[in-house]
């Protein structure tokens, strides 16, 4: 196999297998993701999309196989991987009792990133939350709370975005916003993996992997 830095992929999986509650969700799953590539994970409900994403970011352990970050096993380069990757699950990660600004600050703090205020304001303006800095998050709608997360993604400046259902609770403009964010991210050489039930129209090349087919008949 090719070694560490010669490989152009930033994220790679080899022969991943996931069993959940006695059910084989997928096995032998090998994905390669290069810089500047966007990958959509498709599949029916319960086909293991969320499990796959959680395995990719190291929250869940695969039942077999490995995940490589820039050619190296993720568990060995955790710090570097987590500094360059951002994961957004379908839970909001937002504290209702903190304000929009405090929420963003505390999310960035866990990544050890300190960002100047005007930059945060720019990001908030971009996601349509200008002027909401000091509003407690519990006063926001669920779509607006998702937008806080979008601002967080913009500010984190990670090279790899792993997003589980990023369009949840977003309106039409919100969906367009995510699409444009993905495009810009891609143009800047970033990569992304996401799942979605909604149609996502990206005017660019986008690969997709469908779960739940390759194991038909197996088990």
């Amino acid at each position: 196999m090719s070694n560490t830095n010669t490989s152009p992929s930033i994220l790679e999986t080899r022969q991943l297998e996931c069993v959940r509650d006695d059910r084989l969700l997928f096995s032998g799953l090998s994905i390669t993701l290069a810089a500047g590539e966007v990958l959509q994970i498709e599949g029916a409900n319960g086909s293991g999309k969320t499990s796959l994403l959680r395995i990719l970011c190291g929250l869940r352990r695969a039942d077999a196989g490995e995940v490589l970050w820039q050619g190296e096993e993720v568990s060995g380069v955790r710090e570097d991987y987590y500094a360059n990757m951002i994961y957004i699950g379908h839970l909001p990660c937002i504290k209702g009792d903190l304000t929009t600004l405090e929420n963003i600050r505390s999310l960035l703090d866990t990544r050890s990133q300190s960002v100047p205020l005007d930059e945060i304001d720019q990001a908030l303006a971009k996601v349509g939350l200008a002027g909401f800095d000091d509003v407690p998050a519990k006063a926001l709608s669920s779509g607006q709370r998702r937008r806080i997360l979008l601002a967080f993604i913009l500010l984190a400046k990670a090279r790899l975005w792993i997003m589980d259902e990023p369009l949840t609770a977003l309106d039409v403009q919100g969906v367009a916003l995510v699409e444009s964010m993905l495009l810009e991210h891609r143009e800047a050489g970033g990569s992304a993996i996401f799942t979605t039930h909604h149609g996502m129209q990206l005017p660019c090349e986008m690969r997709s992997v469908t779960l739940g087919i390759q194991q038909a008949g197996k088990c």
């Binding site: 069993v19 959940r20 509650d21 006695d22 088990c219």
Partner: protein, 249 residues
């Protein structure tokens, strides 16, 4: 060398291989446990001399002491098996740990019951807050906690790991608990009554005791293998080899 050993470990710990091997081992363990147990009980209850202080009632130690030893021993086994399962991801170790817990709890319970039966003539009460009995009681709580956690998490793998970690935390705590209970007991027990101390024990008492301890270990080995085999079948029920096995029957 290391690789070969590792390969051997993995082969042996594959559920199917374990199922085959353990099936052959169980009768041996069971029969020898039975023979030793009968011999030990006979020696203990009829041959061993009467204790000059406690009369005949001391004979319950031939059950009580092995049970108390086993209660602690099995918890150790659980913790070690859990550590192996957690670190090296060997599923079989997790299954052994899970299969051991109820057996350990039963031995603990047995030690408590026999202890209080012994206590009635000695202390005049079924329950006295004696250091050893109290330690056993806490150990029983630890077993209950392990089993409750194991059964309340639905995903089997997560349940194994979570309860395994609890077993390890428990094992680190057992010496501390034991020490504090001992200390607490000496503090509060002004006039010490007869205790389960082992003064220089007569050799005719010691031998049956050791035989019984050995029988208990063999009994545990047999039962844990039976339970672990069931566990294997349960968890691997969707695998080819289990299906073939079922069809054969």
């Amino acid at each position: 060398m290391f690789k070969r050993i590792w390969g051997w470990i993995q082969r042996f710990s594959s559920p199917k291989h374990f199922y085959d091997i353990s099936g052959k081992m169980i009768p041996w363990f069971a029969v020898s446990a039975l023979l030793l147990g009968v011999y030990g009980l006979y020696m203990g209850l009829f041959v061993a001399p009467t204790d000059y202080q406690q009369g005949e009632s001391y004979r319950i130690i031939f059950i009580h002491v092995p049970a108390a030893w086993m209660s602690l021993f099995i918890y150790m086994v659980m913790a070690i098996a859990s550590a192996i399962g957690l670190i090296w991801q060997i599923k079989l170790a997790d299954m052994v740990a899970a299969a051991s817990a109820p057996i350990g709890a039963w031995f603990t319970f047995l030690a408590l019951v026999t202890g209080s039966l012994w206590g009635k003539p000695m202390w005049g009460a079924y329950w006295v807050w004696d250091a050893r009995l109290t330690s056993e009681l806490i150990l029983l709580f630890l077993y209950f906690g392990y089993m409750a956690l194991q059964s309340s998490i639905e995903d089997q793998r997560t349940a194994d790991k979570a309860s395994g970690l609890l077993a390890i935390v428990g094992v680190v705590n057992i010496p501390i608990i034991h020490y504090s209970v001992e200390w607490w007991n000496t503090l509060h027990q002004g006039a010490t009554v007869a205790k389960f101390d082992k003064p220089s024990m007569h050799i005719d008492m010691l031998i049956p005791l050791l035989v019984m301890a050995f029988a208990a270990k063999l009994f545990y080995a047999a039962v844990v293998l039976v339970r672990a085999r069931n566990e294997v079948l349960m968890r691997e029920r969707n695998r080819q080899w289990v299906r073939e096995l079922v069809e054969k029957i």
